[in-house]
Amino acid sequence: MYGSSDAAAPAAAREFVDQMNAGMVRTGADLLCSLLQQAGVDVIFGYPGGAVLPIYDALYSSSLRHILTRHEQGAIHAAEGYARVTGRPGVVLATSGPGATNLVTGIADAYMDSTPLVVLTGQVVTESIGRDAFQEADIVGITMPITKHNYQVRDIDTLPQVIADAFHIATSGRPGPVLIDLPKSVTSGPARDAVLPAPDARGYRVPGHPSDEALTAIQDAIRQARKPLLYVGGGIISAGAAETLRRFARVNQIPVTSTLLGLGGFPAHDELFVGMLGMHGTYAANQAITNCDLLIALGVRFDDRVTGKLQRFSPHSKKIHVDIDPAEIGKNVPVDIAVVADVGLTLQALLTDRLSADTGEWRAQIAAWEAEWPLRYRADDTCLKPQAVIELIAQRTRGEAIVTTEVGQHQMWAALFYPFSEPRKFVTSGGLGTMGYGFPSALGAQVALPGETVVCIAGDASFQMNIQELQTMVDYALPVKIAVINNRFLGMVRQWQQFFYDRRYAESRISSPDFVKVANAYGVLGLRAATFDEAKVAIEQAFAHEGPVVIDFVVLEEENVFPMVPPGKGTDEMTLEWEG
């Protein structure tokens, strides 16, 4: 036991000892670790610093696994990758000030793509808050617009409820990032151990079942439709509704198009799948969305990359929108039947009857569009085509790998040419379009699912944005296969400059180090391929290798992503090939 009668001890220390004798035998940081474990956390991605020293000290003797990255941005994207492949919240820890601000891009990314995260930041001691103390940044203020909710814990007694609510809010309804700012004085101060309470966020309600009126309205609309189309997005995946969707589409023979974030929510090989829609969607998908008479939008948000020019978006259709987030309904496109509900429960409720009238003619029309302009590219024996690389990787992994991407042309080619058949296999930054996301998110995915094949399809420029995480990959022996689609350009920027700025390639040519040597410097296998045959060999070698691999695919420089709906144009105004 601790003696409390030593009159010479400073008052604060005496108080601490008294509190410990009263049963408060731990620090706030110990309590935090205990609560995280009670919330089901097994791994934290983070980076230490002054304001989180008490937390790291507690982690030192905790059984929580910690993954030390080389940059806080790497940590948060890894946590996003973890969350996207598991559906469980990714947990990130960073210090105050620069540690916290380095997380901002990842928080914004998770917010846009509805990825559940619990972000823990250190903060200066409570007495110093607001005084511009060393490494103080108002991270709660900074992240208000990019978090689902955030907290600053000024009183340790509130921590158990904050943790319970944060996990509940991050993972339920439309998922998203929740940040908890933890002043050092709170994590280093005394705390009683506590049981994780039930969540109790009074102003927070999660929609569930659709109303009977809504169901009847949907059923009537589907019965009357001749040309129905399911337009599905990431909401299908976060709702765990992929299987229900598959059954619903098949029973009613309704074709399906998907957003970028929805890929894998419906099997790519299914006859009813029309492909991705939008700016780089397939010809058939964009024709279908323009010509359908009933648009059934499920777990989507009518993003501008999907709709193109709003006035031309699906002009002939009655629109049903089912989403768990009421603020998405009618935000960009007015709808006829608005349903605030869980998409999975809604589809389940609609499965009782076969609803569609005969869609045969409509499906034949879609098949004709698919035949008219299938997804294709010009093969070329004299060089390596980026699309061919994706196809080779898809073949070697039988379309079953977890694929993460960076942002740019390679991302669109991955989306178009890798056939995703299951949810939670495709990890990409859609809403924010964050270069530097793909590689660390692959690491997080591999941490979460060590038995899975994880491939990162990267651009030469994006890869360099978080290339420092190679060492993290090595430290934790994560066997990620990194396929660098190396076109010596900021390819997507170059494509826009080619189309809309008269080929004036301002600052879009970009150099890279020798990726094979870089890999070798980290002790990682590095391969290079500059022809189709070399690519085949390299891919075989890479997937036969047990550890991580970096493959530098030297591809044709000025290849473009098609089809393309130019910005400001309607989805039926696609450019299918470059004639210029």
Partner: protein, 191 residues
Amino acid sequence: MERTISVLVNDRPGVLARIAGMFSRRGFNIASITVGTAEEEGLSRMTIVSSGDDAMALQMVAQLQKLIDVIEVHDISREQTVKRELALVKVRITKTTRPEIAHILEPFRVSIVDVGHASLTVQVTGDVQKIDALIGLLRPFGVTEIARTGVTALLRSGVLESGFAGADTPYRPLIEAEATNDDDLFETERE
């Protein structure tokens, strides 16, 4: 049209910033915003006066509802409400204008809360039009300072009392708000 939105929020640090930030970020204007303690301890009631068409108003309500610290939201623009604002108006006086001003003030039932040699301060309560009217009448005499509280509002007794969603009411009010001129809750007119 003018929108009056009544919002019940947790009385926590940063709540006003969350709401004001959301409004500015999404391009909703704020004509006035008032905050004060509400009927229940730990809660505040805000009255936000804004403007926008029906679609925008629906977005305002939905975006407000998304904020975790927001307990209830109601667009009371089309409801029977009691709306009040308080203003303090300082006006110049001289020996000659004094009786004239007193005459103007009479029907407004104001209180004169401060009198000096050269000016007096009146406190006026009422709806916005009444306050605007009084200020307009006093302007010619020289209004030197004005402080207005902004509008605060409550629904009139008996009006839509169940419309203030309780904790377990689902998101219905959002759809109902749009459905005021439409019988079917889920059918909304396309523009």
